[in-house]
């Protein structure tokens, strides 16, 4: 990077917050995809003005700018695939205001999701979006990826809680979208445009969030089924009975195989699917609701049911879910994790399609995830050291996405497109739709400064390490 640019950066944020040293380039070259691309400079920012000045400078010199939160993205969103300036927002981590009268919160983008949740819960409020990464991902990253989690079934995802944003545009202007009110129809809904835009349309520097009252209590259940269809039919029956649980998590037979014997709750051989169901609300209603759910699902191949009556028992149930990820490695060393989504009722069809793919290509595929919203974490477990596996995995992934799209689903429910899935965009979207998106990007970011090379395919670039 030119000396003159570095000097300007130093002028903007101070010497200690700019680096072009190798060590810093290395430690800001990756995210949870494990791919590595070295940036030209790393800058830590602490205010919207700094962000604006940096983006303007980058426009003058045509240098890419990569907004970066905690770097836990699963699709390469923060990777500097064309070099440039990695702009780190982790230090803008103040909760500016929690408004108990209007049920809103005002935060900087570097606030950790769970930290906000802890603070609002102390005063009886609730911020529901709960990505599994909530203890370390930033709210700015959540907004950029529209992160979601198990509670989505009842409470929705990040976009349902964003009322307004302060954004630095790709040309360095500071704009404000939405506001502090629940209703607001002044002009285009730019807030929604930015949520899920993966850092390609603007850098979020402040977020106004909607809060709700914290549910008074919750109840957790674990149900074992003799077949995946039993579990799927149960999900449909519960929703059909107009009950919306907070979470409806499922584990398929392959997943159960990985954790059998490791959980304190026994999972016998004939258990082919597990549902973890949680309901929340008024404590007096919960027992009745739990009973009702169990009676509704009774006809569907149920082997065993367990209702937690204490916090510890509930913890024991969630432990079953949590030991899944660390247990996968025993199947095979390399994991390809995708987060496809299908309409809720199509979960069994999707599982069957995955089983067929697994058989045809002779690779284990382990599936679990959010049955309540059709979001399935598909884990293709392979050993990349095997001959021809790299090519094979490409084909398998394409088949998986194809199956999801054929069921009127999508290739990503939570993790976004980034670089990892760019080439599959056209599977679910027609050309005109993609072009429409690209025109928005080109209009707002004429020099392609902000996070270039993401979402839409382009020429393959030099990767430091693949």
């Amino acid at each position: 990077m030119k000396k003159e640019v570095v000097e300007k950066l130093v002028e903007i944020v101070g010497k200690e917050n700019v680096s072009t040293q190798s060590a810093d380039k290395i430690t800001h070259s990756y995210d949870a995809t494990q791919e590595q691309h070295l940036p030209d400079a790393v800058v830590y920012v602490s205010s919207v003005q700094e962000v604006s000045l940096i983006v303007k400078l980058a426009n003058q010199h045509k240098i890419p700018v990569l907004p970066r939160g905690a770097g836990t993205g699963f699709t390469g969103g923060s990777l500097p695939i064309h070099g440039g300036i990695v702009l780190v927002l982790t230090r803008m981590d103040k909760i500016l205001d929690i408004d108990e009268e209007n049920l809103t919160a005002e935060v900087e983008p570097g606030v950790i999701t769970a930290e906000l949740q802890r603070q609002v819960e102390k005063i009886g409020l609730f911020y529901p979006p709960d990505p599994a990464s909530k203890e370390f991902s930033t709210l700015g990253g959540n907004v950029a990826e529209c992160a979601g989690g198990p509670r989505c079934v009842k409470y929705g995802v990040t976009k349902d809680y964003i009322l307004g944003l302060e954004v630095v545009t790709p040309t360095g202007d500071i704009i404000h979208t939405g506001g502090k009110t629940l209703k607001n129809v002044v002009g285009y809904d730019l807030t929604k445009l930015f949520v899920g835009s993966e850092g390609t349309l603007g850098i979020v520097t402040q977020i106004t969030l909607k809060l709700i009252p914290k549910p008074a209590a919750k109840k957790t259940m674990l149900v074992q089924f003799a077949s995946i269809d039993g579990a799927a039919q149960s999900v449909s029956a519960i929703i059909g009975a107009k009950i919306i649980p907070t979470t409806l998590e499922f584990l398929d037979a392959a997943t159960i195989g990985c954790i059998r014997g490791k959980s304190s709750i026994p999972l016998p051989e004939n258990c082919q699917a597990v549902l973890i169901i949680e309901v929340d609300g008024d404590p007096q209603m919960l027992d009745a609701q739990a009973e009702l759910i169990l009676s509704i699902i009774k006809p569907f191949n149920v082997l065993d049911t367990r209702i937690a009556s204490t916090e510890e028992e509930s913890e024991e149930i969630w432990k079953v879910r949590r030991i899944v990820s660390p247990s996968l490695r025993q199947v095979n060393p390399d994991k390809f994790n995708e987060d496809i989504v299908v309409p809720r009722s199509k979960v069994p069809d999707m599982i069957r399609a995955l089983e067929a793919i697994s058989k045809k290509y002779n690779v284990p595929i382990v599936n679990f995830g959010h049955a309540g919203d059709g979001n399935i974490h598909v884990n293709v477990m392979v050993d990349l050291k095997e001959d021809g596996m790299e090519e094979k995995i490409e084909i398998i992934m394409e088949k998986v996405f194809e199956a999801a799209v054929n069921l009127r689903g999508a290739i990503s429910g939570e993790h976004g497109i980034g670089t990892s899935k760019a080439k599959y965009m056209s599977m679910g979207l027609n050309r005109a739709t993609i072009e429409y998106m690209q025109r928005i990007k080109a209009a707002l970011d004429p020099l392609n400064i902000l996070n270039p090379g993401k979402i839409f395919i382009e020429e393959p670039s030099q990767s430091v390490k693949g």
Binding site: T27, H28, A32, Y44, T90, R91, R329
Partner: protein, 419 residues
């Protein structure tokens, strides 16, 4: 005979880091600065780059590698249990090998050459702070941890006039059928807090055990490990294993979490088998529970005026999963009203020699505990490691609180004295 591992011995586990970022939520040095270079994931990426020859021992890399308390908090929560604290240790030793010892490390080896001088100094003498460090023996970790001229404004340990070896015989005969307990006291207890060592010995004696406190025992090696002095760690390991071979012992008890992590956990990772020794190492709280003391204490009549006490988890016990026994011990005491505090398990910030190089960060890490401590309304914060006691008192003093940090054994001794 016992050798430290080298960076390349960690090649396989380094590649097992999946860059998930989970460690960010648990790494104290990351949480106070929010810099990726300070988190486990960042350090592992640097370790990988070193192995791949993509980077040398640059200044910036050294800075990042120095930003580690070797507390192991990341390892505990890492899905793949990548041992960042050990990897950091290996890189620091690599730096020492190439560039010689750091400032602090050099101070120690200079003293190493003058054994007799150190012995006289350790015999007592003035209790004035600036001279404090001149009174600890040659290879002691205290020397590494508190080079006081470098650290203004710092609560440092007072060196006791009579150290533990002056107070307790090398061997105390117990009841015939009872096992012999080796006591590894460690530098902090031997020289700065000998009274804690005395409590330990008196309690074990009252329970009928024979106690062996070999004079040849040395520093556990944790501070040397932290400063990258690999050679010294190897020598200390050798000496300590030998010290406990002179007499048949059934257990080697510690009342210092760092020492437990050093002689128990770290020695296990060294090349050369010392499992005969490490297999006997046991934390005092685990031992006392196993011997049924908690149940006996619980039967004692509760005091009218009890002390409100909370607990701080020393990292070296936390990462071994020893979090319950110390709490159970406190709960069983008749003179204690136990309360939990928020962030009980977050690091105090001492971290071997970390607080010497990074006193500001060290204080900031410790300060994260203050809100929870105030909220708990405790009058005492008890813990199981003298290093933590010192650091916690420093944090408390800086925050202007009146809370006192104490060793659990002090409270236990108080309860037993009243009997």
């Amino acid at each position: 005979m016992y050798k430290n591992k080298k960076l390349k011995d960690f090649e396989k586990v380094i590649r097992e880091c999946v860059k998930c970022g989970v460690c960010q939520a648990h790494c104290p040095t990351y949480l106070v600065g929010k810099r990726e270079g300070a988190v486990a994931r960042g350090k592992i990426s640097l370790a990988a780059a070193l192995l791949d020859g993509e980077i040398g021992l640059d200044e910036r890399l050294q800075e990042d590698i120095s930003m580690c308390l070797m507390c192991g908090s990341c390892v505990e929560k890492c899905p793949n249990k990548v041992p960042t604290h050990e990897i950091v240790g290996a890189i620091r030793r690599g730096i020492t090998e190439q560039q010689g010892l750091s400032l602090v490390g050099r101070g120690v080896s200079a003293l190493l050459g003058s054994g007799p001088l150190m012995k006289t100094l350790s015999k007592g003498g003035a209790l004035l702070s600036p001279l404090v460090l001149k009174k600890v023996p040659e290879s002691s970790g205290l020397r590494l941890r508190f080079p006081s001229p470098l650290m203004k404004d710092r609560t440092v340990p007072q060196i006791a006039f009579r150290n533990l070896f002056d107070r307790v015989p090398e061997y105390t005969e117990g009841r015939p059928a009872k096992p012999v307990i080796g006591f590894f006291a460690g530098c902090s207890i031997t020289y700065a807090y000998p009274e804690i060592g005395e409590y330990m010995v008196n309690i074990l004696k009252a329970m009928g055990f024979s106690i062996y406190l070999p004079r040849e025992q040395k520093c556990c090696g944790i501070p040397a490990l932290s400063s990258g002095d690999g050679k010294l760690v190897e020598e200390l390991a050798e000496a300590n294993v030998k010290a406990f071979q002179k007499r048949e012992v059934d257990y080697i008890i510690t009342a210092c979490a760092s020492c437990n992590g050093g002689i128990g956990e770290y020695y296990k990772t060294m090349k050369g088998d010392c499992s005969e020794f490490t297999g006997k190492v046991i934390d005092f709280s685990v031992f006392l529970e196993q011997e049924g003391l908690f149940a006996q204490l619980a039967e004692m009549k509760k005091w009218q005026q009890r002390k409100r006490v909370t607990y701080h988890d020393p990292c070296h016990l936390k990462i071994q999963g020893i979090t319950r026994p110390p709490r159970e011990l406190l709960k069983s005491l008749p003179n204690v009203e136990f309360v939990e505090m928020e962030r009980a398990n977050s690091c105090c910030g001492l971290g071997g020699t970390f607080s010497v190089y990074h006193y500001e960060e060290s204080k900031a890490i410790g300060a994260r505990k203050v809100a929870g401590l105030i909220e708990s309304k405790a009058a005492y914060i008890a813990t199981a490691c003298p290093g933590c006691i010192m650091q916690l008192q420093d944090i408390i003093n800086h925050a202007g609180l009146t809370v006192k940090s104490v060793h659990i054994l002090e409270l236990l001794a108080e309860a037993l004295a009243e009997q």
